[in-house]
């Protein structure tokens, strides 16, 4: 394993963390949009309270992956920015609207009343943006997985549609988008069963049941969506598909992923919330790593490998050193953040109010 491989793995770890944490924040917004039943407003409050303290930190995993990508693999970043300009711009609009609308909703109200009608409109913007952004983000990932991003297309004078639109506006890429959306919603619902724990939130058990049902439904939907993406990959992403079926790691990976998926559903069924959370996280992570393995050694198919795209060794060494130092600051801070807001036993109330 070369230094470049190590950094590629770290970048993917950051993306994995973004999917599990930031992804679930988007998923929360999806459940805000689909809030229903007698406990509609309580569902929304629970979601907002779960997201509030952590979404900005969770969002930074994406930034971290991005800056590491352009530091360590500049040509890959340049090509992605060029060929996926349109979907990435749309993702950005989604990110901007989701983040600002959430804050306007939670902080813009007069006197902190979240029920304010004008404020609720921001809640809707937040929810819709939370639905659209993962769809586009997943579509972008689908475009990368399909291997249709050759450098030759990035020249002036090439036809617009095949170069800048076709790679992502196709059934396979869109199916990956839907997959990302369902996966994020599934994660969010699983996490929210824990947030709604009557022992911790002071809520009744009904809220927990609401999210249990949502988690089970989206967990089953995830199977369907994953299967359709695999079928569609035949035409659009044959190389990834072949790897996912014939590589030596393929069968063991699928077995473990499938086991995690089943474990998540069974744990939800028997209301083992913490087990369900771990299993769901493992399941989604393994699917991501399956994609990463199927791409290896390419960053961008058909022609850009990790070795081709890598920055000079001096940069890689320094990036690794910076990561080591950064981790010393970051990991304890993250641990603290999640302990304070997501910990099993909440710290005693000390503050002014």
């Amino acid at each position: 394993m070369t230094l470049a491989d190590v950094l590629a793995v770290i970048i993917f770890v950051a993306l994995n963390a973004y999917a599990l944490l930031g992804g679930a924040d988007f998923g929360g917004g999806v459940w805000d949009l689909f809030a229903s039943g007698p406990r509609k407003e309580r569902q929304r409050e629970l979601i907002a309270e779960a997201i509030g303290p952590v979404w900005e930190a969770n969002h930074v995993w994406l930034i971290l992956a991005l800056v590491l990508l352009f530091t360590c693999f500049p040509p890959a970043f340049a090509r992605l920015g060029t060929l996926l300009h349109i979907p990435l711009s749309l993702v950005l609009i989604g990110i901007v609207l989701r983040g600002s609308a959430f804050t306007f909703w939670r902080y813009g109200g007069s006197g902190g009343s979240h029920a304010d009608l004008a404020q609720r409109r921001w809640g809707v913007v937040f929810a819709v943006a939370s639905l659209i952004t993962p769809l586009l983000l997943g579509t972008t990932a689908g475009a990368i997985a399909s291997g249709g991003l050759p450098s030759g297309g990035a020249m002036k004078g090439e036809a617009f549609y095949p170069t800048y639109v076709a790679p992502w506006l196709n059934l396979f890429a869109l199916s990956v988008g839907v997959f990302a959306l369902v996966a994020f919603a599934f994660l969010a619902a699983v996490y929210l069963t824990l947030e709604a724990d009557p022992a911790e939130s002071g809520e009744g058990g009904e809220l927990q049941e609401d999210f249990r049902l949502r988690a089970l439904a989206s967990g089953v939907a995830l199977f369907v969506v994953a299967a359709s993406a695999l079928v569609l990959s035949r035409g659009r992403a044959p190389l990834v598909r072949d790897a996912l079926i014939f590589a030596s790691w393929a069968v063991p990976l699928h077995v473990v992923t499938g086991a995690a998926a089943l474990a998540a559903l069974i744990a939800l069924w028997f209301r083992r919330w913490r087990l369900a959370r771990v299993a769901a996280g493992v399941q989604v992570s393994l699917i991501l790593w399956g994609w990463a393995l199927s791409q290896k050694p390419y960053i961008l198919r058909p022609d850009l490998t990790i070795a081709d795209a890598t920055a000079p060794p001096a940069t890689l060494r320094l990036a690794l050193a910076a990561l080591a130092v950064g981790a010393v600051v970051l990991l304890p801070s993250l641990f603290y953040l999640f302990r304070v807001f997501k910990g099993r036993d909440q710290a005693p109330l000390v503050g002014p109010r």
Partner: protein
């Protein structure tokens, strides 16, 4: 509109929008922490109210800053793939470090905003300190990356490719020190004066309001020292560009002709065709004196390079004049504040001072925007000074006017909303009668009773 111009405009709009929030994100947490600390020490509820208000403001502004910053980091690739392809390996390092600083900032802001009731008051204050420090650090890292574009270092150019890449040397580029100092001070001065200005305006109507007096005081503690130091750091920056980026200085000062004993041009309208600046006041020898600390030093003029490589002289010159004028105003008002504070006078009772501070509300931010116009427009037509032209860095994708218009509309919309939300927050200024009675024993010798200390 050409694709290049659209790309430049989109980047410009994105930066101009983001920088407002970035600057507030650096300075606001400092004020928030000072207020909270004063609450802890004095036990006066007015300080807690201030800390909570500023925290609310910071929450809104930080969120918009975070997402608009995300847009910028993507736009580096969406608009300037040629730049990133060349420069990513050299200058990615400060961006990565900024990533960590931003991460720390986001984590502790979450702890601060939502942790009032979850953690000890000591831990809460330290969370605020962590936000303030990491906010300043992330600003510094980003400015280091920008400084490298002005003074590229840490690589050798062989056949158009960078070899012998040394990211540490790139970060230690010649412009880094002066630019980071100038920008960090600007953040404190601009934000501090914006806040002080709003409260000074409200004090003009209600001079007895303890809430506004305390707010004014803390804002000035952050703003005034920075505004006084800013002209000195400006001098450092100007002397750097005189040596390393003479074209930028020539454009900023509208020096068309290389000359010894160059005069300082105040104001005026550069006529690029005629190669002269109309309606300007000239102070003989002053530019040579300022730029090189020698009245007879030779200052390079725009004639040193071919006209097709000139930046937009008029825009750079006018932006520079604007920045210097506003900065000077803020420094003078700060000295006035310092003088009155030293004499232990009631700031809020000095109506002329309140008017002067109220007038300053937007000035710091206008100066920040103007300063960035000087830096960025003054570097054109280069994206990496002397190495890579902006035109060679832009994406080949056509139709860039569409994203430009889209993001401009998005940002206009967000700008209006943020302004409205903050306005609503300010409108609800508390008028607690007890505070009035308790805090307004003017001349009672109560420490910090509006004395500006």
């Amino acid at each position: 509109m050409s694709d290049l111009l659209a790309a430049r405009s989109q980047m410009g709009i994105s930066l101009a929008f983001h920088i407002v929030f970035a600057v507030i994100g650096i300075a606001m947490p400092v004020m928030m922490v000072v207020a909270e600390r004063r609450w802890q020490v004095t036990g006066h509820a007015v300080y807690l109210e201030l800390a909570k208000r500023w925290a609310r403001g910071t929450a809104i502004l930080f969120a918009v800053g975070a997402v608009s910053g995300t847009v910028l980091s993507f736009e580096l690739g969406l608009l300037w793939p040629g730049f990133m392809d060349f420069a990513g390996a050299i200058i990615g390092m400060p961006f990565s470090l900024e990533g960590f600083a931003f991460f720390t900032e986001a984590i502790f802001l979450g702890v601060y905003l939502y942790g009032w009731e979850r953690i000890s008051s000591r831990a809460h204050l330290w969370a605020g300190v962590a936000v303030a420090l990491s906010g300043a650090a992330s600003g510094i890292f980003v400015v280091i990356a920008n400084a490298w574009m002005n003074a590229p270092a840490g690589f050798e150019l062989v056949n158009g490719r960078a070899v012998n890449v040394d990211p540490i040397a790139a970060m230690g580029n010649a412009a880094a020190l002066s630019q980071t100092i100038h920008m960090t001070l600007a953040a404190y001065a601009a934000t501090g004066f914006a806040v002080a200005g709003i409260h000074a305006f409200l004090l003009l109507k209600d001079p007895a309001n303890a809430f506004h007096r305390r707010a004014l005081e803390i804002a000035l503690i952050v703003a005034a020292p920075a505004a006084v130091l800013q002209p000195l750091s400006g001098d450092l920056a100007a002397r750097h560009i005189a040596v390393h980026q003479p074209v930028k200085l020539a454009a900023a000062e509208a020096v068309f002709r290389t000359q010894a004993g160059a005069p300082l041009t105040l104001g005026g309208w550069p006529d690029v065709e005629a190669r002269e600046t109309r309606f300007a006041v000239e102070i003989p020898y002053a530019l040579s004196l300022l730029a090189f600390h020698d009245p007879h030093a030779v200052v390079k003029g725009l004639d040193a390079i071919p006209p097709e490589d000139w930046p937009n002289v008029r825009a750079v010159h006018l932006s520079f004049q604007l920045m210097v004028a506003l900065g000077t105003y803020l420094a003078l008002v700060s000295l006035w504040v310092g003088w009155l504070g030293w004499r232990r006078r009631e700031l809020a009772h000095n109506r002329w001072l309140m008017r002067a501070i109220a007038l300053a509300t937007p000035m710091g931010f206008i100066a920040v925007e103007a300063g960035w116009m000087v830096t960025e427009l003054g570097r054109q037509p280069w994206v990496i000074y002397g190495v890579l032209r902006t035109a060679d860095a832009v994406t080949p994708m056509p139709g860039l006017v569409v994203p430009f218009v889209t993001f401009t509309l998005l940002y206009c919309f967000l700008g209006v909303i943020v302004a409205w939300l903050l306005y609503r927050q300010i409108l609800r200024s508390p008028t607690v009668p007890e505070w009035r009675g308790f805090y307004m024993r003017s001349g009672s010798g109560e420490r910090g009773a509006g004395s500006g200390t």
